[in-house]
């Protein structure tokens, strides 16, 4: 202890503090006026200020300096942690926890009950077991939602989950319909679980996470070797100097603070604060999701090439907050629909050329959209999602052209097939026969005669006639129709902001917050430290770093002792 006090009073670290670099978090300095004043100087002009500062220190007695330091730091701490007294008391009543408590108690009445109630709810909501249980329930419900067929008619469930043969001996259609599991992801049970999750997320952020910021901004020196030895990692270095330890730690990316014989260093503070950001980002995503669910419009439409529709006719509101905008009067004209093909003949991509016209019939926008490349106009997004074939244009015996409507045919597999039929002979007879035309895409049409025999394949636009059952047929064109999805979603910007924040903060959360304390006791330096995540790597890193600390040979040691005492 003698050594400490000697070192403390003369402050030997001052001439050496040019090691310190200015940390990112400035509030740290307010706890330590010494290093604050010095550091800024040191940062500006490293060695130039050495002399005047040592002089100024010598002018004051050590006791004065100490006391002044204390009082200043305390003052600043006060202003940092709690709001200024009285003046702001009333305004902060509603949202600050501890301050109103005392002023309210005097008044008594229903407010007190409310506050106790609020505190209890916060306590319950922010408890970890509840949050974990809630997450498990949410996960289980989601799993159930993928196992039970969604969005079927009640009869389907009554048949599949009949009471004669209950799943696990109790689970029947009554459960499904009563709990709304036929539309799990909008059922009150699931939404309730999500809401509870959101509530506990908020409570946890408020009661546990935000205080972490305050606590982790507080940094302290350890003044006894015992406290340092108690850390997860501890080591004692005989014949070493704490300045060397500081330099080496700084070289390894630590923020280092030296004060007298004590050293405090930390790294990766962001890793401790980032989980707070993760929680806030999750809340942002949830809020955005709620806005999406309550305030969006969606609709889908299949439009043959050359026709048009009005946006407002297609869009249907999905929530109570949905309100139509000016852009809903826009008329959309499908100028052209076409497809790209691979060499093998399979569809590779489909495009729709759209024109948007306002109420006056003026074109306000034109864009060719495709899958993965939607159009955005006035808050409305138009997606290319599907296609079909609406009609075949043919010439029969050089008459026409006739438009034959194509109908989708149900086949196994996910490939599309469309067909149409051209009657031959007497149309009014009961067993009318004719030519069948089938198409998988807009490239080629397969023709069959009235007996069902394959006749040939023709490409649209080829103008190559084909003779079937005595009539000459030319396929002029195949007209596709474009499947479009429209939506407005005011929640997207919020959700995207949440996504961005979530990605960044999750990545930062991987950083491990390491703290190191060291104390010079005579010629021995005690080093101790802890980290919150990288528990395996930390001791290894420390051993590697401390190996680098030079051992002080007798002569330099005595020199240092001189400089300390002098």
């Amino acid at each position: 202890m003698k050594a400490f006090s000697a070192i403390n009073s003369t402050n030997p670290c001052l001439p050496k503090t040019h090691f310190l670099k200015v940390p990112i978090f400035h509030p740290f300095f307010k706890f330590n006026p010494f290093s604050h004043s010095y550091n800024t100087h040191a940062h500006a002009a490293n060695r130039a200020h050495k002399l005047p500062l040592t002089i100024s220190c010598k002018l004051k007695s050590s006791q004065d300096v100490k006391n002044k330091g204390k009082s200043v730091s305390q003052k600043i701490v006060l202003s940092e942690t709690s709001p200024p007294p009285l003046t702001e008391d009333d305004s902060t009543n509603s949202d600050s926890g501890d301050v109103p408590q005392s002023s309210m108690k005097k008044k008594g009445g229903p407010f007190e009950v409310l506050i106790v109630f609020r505190r209890k709810t916060l306590q319950i909501l922010s408890s970890l077991p509840l949050a974990i249980a809630d997450m498990f329930v949410a996960a289980a419900l989601m799993a159930l939602g993928t196992l039970i067929e969604q969005g079927e008619a009640p009869d389907f469930y009554i048949q599949k989950y009949s009471e004669d043969n209950p799943v696990f001996g109790f689970f029947t259609w009554r459960w499904i319909l009563a709990l709304g599991f036929d539309h799990m992801f909008s059922s009150p049970v699931f939404l309730g679980v999500l809401a509870l999750l959101g509530a506990s997320l908020m409570a946890c952020t408020y009661t546990t996470q935000l205080p972490i910021i305050k606590v982790s901004r507080r940094w302290s020196f350890l003044h006894s070797a015992e406290a340092i030895r108690k850390q997860e990692f501890s080591e004692s270095l005989p014949r070493a100097s704490i300045q060397d330890v500081g330099t080496i730690l700084m070289g390894a990316g630590y923020e280092v603070f030296l004060k007298g014989p004590s050293l405090y260093a930390f790294k990766g503070l962001a890793g401790r604060l980032a989980p707070v950001g993760v929680h806030i980002a999750l809340l942002l995503v949830m809020a955005g999701g709620t806005v999406s669910a309550a305030g969006s419009f969606r609709g889908s439409v299949t439009v043959p090439q050359g026709l048009n529709f009005v946006v407002g006719d297609v869009l249907a509101p999905s929530g109570f907050l949905s309100s139509p905008t000016e852009a809903f009067n826009t008329e959309i004209h499908v100028n052209r629909f076409y497809m790209d093909y691979f060499e093998s003949g399979e569809v590779s991509q489909f495009h729709t050329d759209l024109s948007l016209r306002n109420m006056d019939g003026k074109e306000v926008m034109r864009k060719t959209i495709s899958v993965n490349d939607p159009l955005r106009y006035g808050g409305i997004t138009i997606y290319q999602t599907d296609w079909s074939i609406s009609a075949l244009q043919i010439l029969k015996d050089n008459e026409g052209p006739y438009n034959l409507a194509m109908a989708p045919l149900q086949i196994n597999g996910d490939k599309k097939l469309y067909g149409t039929f051209l009657p031959v002979g007497d149309i009014n007879s009961p067993d009318v026969k004719g030519i069948s035309m089938l198409a998988r895409d807009l490239q080629s049409i397969v023709l069959y005669d009235k007996e069902g025999k394959f006749v040939g394949v023709r490409r649209p636009n080829s103008n190559l006639p084909i003779n079937i059952d005595g009539s000459e047929i030319v396929i002029v064109d195949a007209i596709g129709s474009s499947g479009l999805d429209l939506k407005t979603d005011p929640g997207v910007p919020v959700v995207y902001a949440g996504f961005g924040a979530l990605m960044i903060t999750t990545c930062i959360s991987y950083l491990s917050h390491s703290q190191i304390w060291a104390l010079q006791d005579g010629t021995t330096v005690f080093v101790g430290g802890k980290t919150n995540r990288a528990k395996i790597e930390f001791p290894e890193e420390m051993n590697r770093l401390l190996d680098k600390v030079p051992e002080i040979v007798e002569s330099t040691l005595s020199k240092q002792a001189d400089s300390i005492s002098g």
């Binding site: 970890l128 949050a131 974990i132 997450m135 498990f136 949410a138 996960a139 989601m142 799993a143 939602g145 993928t146 969604q150 799990m184 992801f185 999701g289 969606r298 691979f342 093998s344 399979e346 569809v347 590779s348 991509q349 489909f350 495709s370 899958v371 993965n372 490349d373 939607p374 997004t381 997606y383 999602t385 996910d414 999805d485 939506k487 979603d489 997207v492 959700v495 995207y496 996504f499 979530l502 990605m503 999750t506 990545c507 959360s509 991987y510 995540r533 990288a534 528990k535 395996i536 790597e537 290894e540």
Partner: protein, 320 residues
């Protein structure tokens, strides 16, 4: 033609190297720790990594799109991710745990991918319109890297559970014990040797080493799972952004999406359980083991059903 031959060669080379690596591990475990042999297994993993990289690049060149459009390619990518995790220098310190986990994992995924079970989907298929986007690379590679890291981490947790309950297994079921210690016994053994060298403590060495070993496994699995969690988060979010471009909604409760979210929640639970010191270790390891099952449901189970918007990853098991 030349491409497919090259692909075949690379597949077989990487597969045989992984088998050799596993054999080496077994030899070092059963017979003796021969440093040279151990080094060669390290080199073997690096060779495997380059072979699979070559395989993926070949496929990329001749199919013209990023080779992640079907299950076969994603399985190859998964074993590539395993070998990547293995050779990333950051994890070198935990080499002993991880190489014991990664070797068998890589051989299983690759074996499954190249086996007859999935012959139908070996050919690189054309890319459906919805997949033609730059997001494909980002989304799928992040998801699979995430799966790989989470699988490694949760396997470490399974190992922890097995070792922690070893006595229990031993008394109740000799076979289980054999299975459990098959791979993990090796690393435990090596770790103990290392500790003997490092540490000269006097109190009950066996239990001390075991508890220390369990703790190291715990920390290691935590780090790997956190890394996988980052990849999974980025993967899910980029998928959501992509879905908002292609399908018109950033979240549509599609089965694959839902299961990915369930996986995310389970590992979020794992991370939260670890914040409580009392529950660290066994409890979090149990959750991670549940997560292991969930990943497989998410990765395979949903594809097996072939439902939902992610159906292009689906497959049918053909037994021939």
């Amino acid at each position: 033609m030349i491409f497919s031959t090259l692909e075949h060669i690379l597949t077989h080379i990487s597969f045989s190297i992984v088998s050799i690596v596993i054999t080496i591990h077994l030899i070092t475990f059963l017979v003796d720790e021969i440093i040279k042999l151990y080094d060669s297994s390290e080199k073997g993993m690096i060779m495997t990594f380059f072979c699979i990289t070559g395989l993926l690049v070949t496929r990329w060149i001749y199919s013209g799109h990023f080779p992640l459009s079907n299950l076969y390619e994603s399985l190859i990518f998964l074993s590539w991710s395993f070998s990547l995790i293995h050779i990333v220098p950051y994890f070198k310190k935990n080499q002993n745990f991880l190489s014991a986990i990664i070797g068998p994992s890589a051989i299983f995924t690759q074996g499954f991918a190249t086996s007859g079970l999935l012959t139908e989907i070996h050919e690189s298929a054309i890319l459906v319109p919805a997949l033609q986007s730059e997001w494909l690379i980002m989304h799928v590679s992040m998801m699979i890297l995430g799966y790989a890291a989470l699988l490694c981490g949760s396997l470490l947790s399974v190992a922890l559970l097995v070792i922690a309950n070893r006595k229990l297994f031993f008394t109740s079921n000799h076979l289980l014990n054999l299975n459990g210690s098959f791979f993990f016994g090796e690393i435990e053994y090596m770790n103990e040797r290392r500790n003997v060298l490092q540490n000269t403590s006097f109190f009950s060495p066996k239990n001390y080493y075991r508890s220390q070993f369990i703790q190291q496994l715990d920390y290691c699995s935590y780090r790997v799972i956190s890394l996988g969690f980052i990849f999974l988060t980025i993967g899910i979010l980029s998928g959501a952004v992509w879905a908002n471009e292609a399908w018109g909604s950033y979240w549509s409760w599609d089965p694959k999406e839902t299961w990915a979210f369930i996986t995310w929640i389970v590992f979020a639970i794992y991370l939260h359980i670890r914040t409580n010191i009392k529950w660290k270790g066994i409890n979090s390891a149990i959750v991670a083991s549940i997560g292991f099952l969930i990943i497989w449901i998410c990765y395979f189970g949903v594809n097996l059903l072939g439902i939902g918007l992610h159906s292009y990853g689906s497959f049918t098991l053909t037994s021939n």
